[in-house]
């Protein structure tokens, strides 16, 4: 069943076609990777799906309903959470608070409850804190709960961002280069985490440059180059596709590899 449908997505910045007529579908409980050389328009496509960029033309549907033109917070509330390529944590909030911000939208205390610290607000706060601590524990961040996000080592910041995204109770998780800057051990843990999340019912859509990670965990791969989707398919198909090799290594290399 198609959870996210992107149809003829076009995003233009002035004269630059960042994303040009890209269509793809992501099914529920699938792990789909988007790859492509630098500047191919992957992050732009991400931003269009999550509402950070208004799209020039085309349509994005989530669970059968159009989310085109919706503000980012509403898209998140519908069930699409994301992380950022250049980690965007709330640096001067504790790790725990960062995760609790993720729970902000589904907390039940109204403003007035918060002002007078009503029993409802207290119960709400307690419940969400327990949930946030649970998430921190699952991601191995328990002992950093009270530290400022910016005090965490890089690899843990990536994980904290995932924890925050998970706190929004998403159905789809969009990860923008989650393995960037991680060491081999951390990458292994990341892949295990992604598989586990999928097993728990999440759909994962990620941008990644590390081919080992992409090939190992993806069910399907979408390849962009210069804003255009050049191919899409299972890892094995994509790996041997001459167009993909050409996009990454240049025309000559592609011909030699096909000959060989």
């Amino acid at each position: 069943m198609a959870l996210i449908e992107v149809e003829s997505l076009v995003k233009r910045f002035g004269g630059l076609m960042a994303v040009n007529d890209v269509s793809f579908v992501i099914d529920a409980r699938e792990i789909v990777s988007m790859i492509g050389p630098n500047g191919a328009g992957k992050t732009t496509a991400f931003n269009c799906v999550t509402g950070l960029y208004p799209i020039t033309s085309g349509a994005v549907r989530f669970d059968g309903h159009s989310i085109t033109g919706q503000p980012p917070h509403r898209i998140t509330r519908l069930g699409i959470a994301r992380t950022f390529q250049n980690i965007r944590l709330f640096s001067f909030m504790t790790a725990l608070d960062n995760v609790m911000v993720g729970a902000h939208w589904w907390m039940s205390a109204r403003v007035w409850d918060s002002v007078v610290k009503s029993p409802r607000a207290r119960a709400d706060e307690k419940r969400v804190e327990a949930r946030a601590r649970d998430l921190l524990e699952q991601l191995g961040l328990t002992r950093y709960a009270g530290s400022y996000a910016r005090e965490l080592p890089y690899g843990l910041q990536r994980r904290l961002e995932i924890a925050r995204a998970l706190a929004t109770q998403p159905r789809v998780l969009l990860l923008d280069e989650p393995a960037a800057g991680l060491n081999p051990q951390e990458k292994k843990e990341l892949m295990a985490l992604i598989s586990r999340l999928r097993d728990e019912g999440l759909t994962i859509f990620l941008i990644e440059h590390d081919m080992r990670v992409v090939m190992e965990i993806s069910d399907r791969i979408v390849v962009l180059d210069h804003g255009v989707k050049i191919t899409e398919g299972k890892p094995a198909e994509v790996r041997s596709n001459p167009q993909v090799i050409e996009a990454y290594l240049g025309q000559g290399a592609a011909e030699r590899m096909v000959d060989a």
């Binding site: 999550t50 950070l52 960029y53 917070h73 998140t76 001067f92 007078v116 607000a121 706060e125 925050r164």
Partner: protein, 531 residues
Amino acid sequence: MPSLSLGRLLTWERVDPTARRPRGAGTSTFWIFSIGSATLLFMGWLLPWFVRPTSSGIGFSPMDVVSSAPTGIGTFLVYLLGIGLLVMVLSPFAELFYRARKRAVPARIDQVRVLIAVFGLVCTVVVFLLTRVIQEEQLFGPIDTFTITDSAVWLTMVGYILAATAYGLRGWVIRRPTTAFAAIALPVGILLPLMFHQAPVFILWAAGSLGIYTLLALGLNVVVGFAGLLDLGYAAFFAIGAYTCGSLASPKHSIHLPLWVLIFLGAAVASMFGAVLGAPTLRLRGDYLAIVTLGFGEIIPDLATNNVGKLTGGPDGISSIDQPIVHLPFATINFGINKEWYYWSVLLVVIIVIVLLRNLEHSRVGRAWVALREDEVAAAATGINTTSTKLLAFAIGASVSGLAGAFYGSIVTIVSPDDFSFSVSVSILSIIVLGGIGNITGVIVGSFVLTFVIFWMLQYLNEWSATLGQTINVPSLGNIDYSQYTYMIYGVALILMMLLRPGGLIPSRARQIELTSGGEEESLAAVQGIA
């Protein structure tokens, strides 16, 4: 190599930014305590000779101190207290001396200080009790009849209590700064009118300047400190509150609503305007937002000057605003005569506002504000409605200001456009920068310091300097008009602040770390390409 300077003195116990849990707020409170106690002791020690209810407040003649012979037991005790005070004030320098030589500070310093503090406390209590039983002449020797003595004793007492707490319970003060602060500030705040019952102008200052500006600063702190939205036109909401009160409780429109209704009305009207101002600025951030709010701050007093709809009385404003008269079964309280009731009302409101704002700060709303301040794009992508969160900050900030405005109108009984000029916005902003952006305790300390300097010291500096000039035979000292140096004082204070303690007197925990590295700012609208 640490040198012996005021800067070092104020900062030597500064936080190590790499520490897991910075102790900065606690040590700041400790320093506020010890510096505050020294100031109070100093004031209290000299007060018998310089607060005179007959002059408009304070006259200072240091020669009296020297020439008055220690004829009474009171004077003798006061001299003893003075010596104790000197030792206290100088003791941090002794500590610095040891630290500069990288030697352990002897525990005896603390013991001596605690001893002095306790002794001083006992002395002041004795003097205070003596003032009740014997004549002040016997106690202090020949001093003129208009001299206030018991305010002085009160002040000294508070000073010694502060010092005893700071040095005797140092661990507690540093561990629980907020509790320690409240434990001292609350009783002193409540008892203030009793301490200064002979100086009603001081109580008027405490209600009309300190109280009102504390409210204003607390409100602006929500917008600037919590949500990170720079607002340079905050006085506009103050004006709206004050004019609401003026219009609905004066002969102007022949409406006479009670103040207790008006403070809520003022808050409601101001918060509505807060949302109105907020709406067009939603896409702006930083400098651009500041400019728009600046414009709003100019428009509101201008509308009042132009007497829009014949509502505001033009440049003259609205006068003869009602002052509440409360009939109780056993007494009638006329706020116009017994100004201390204004003080207590404002104090009560300040306390309530502090409690409510602290609740908000530590709730989902407070978290959303901080998230918005830290990274608007990430906040939106995490499900926070940036529009409503910003508007809420503007509305709540404005409502506190409207509350303050209603009180202000009633206290001063006349509101005119001049009272809400840009300089008021600047003062409020200076208070929170000086005190510590985003930290409620810091904001309170900041408003105390700044309103004391601007609205009390500068008022009487002329007089003090004139008497000083007479005493030391330099009459030209009486001709200096200090009031024109208000902005110079702001400027110097802010520059010193930024150099010595860039996070404010009591910085928030986040600010302390932030100062070690810059933050990034990017508006959601800019990312979306629509701003």
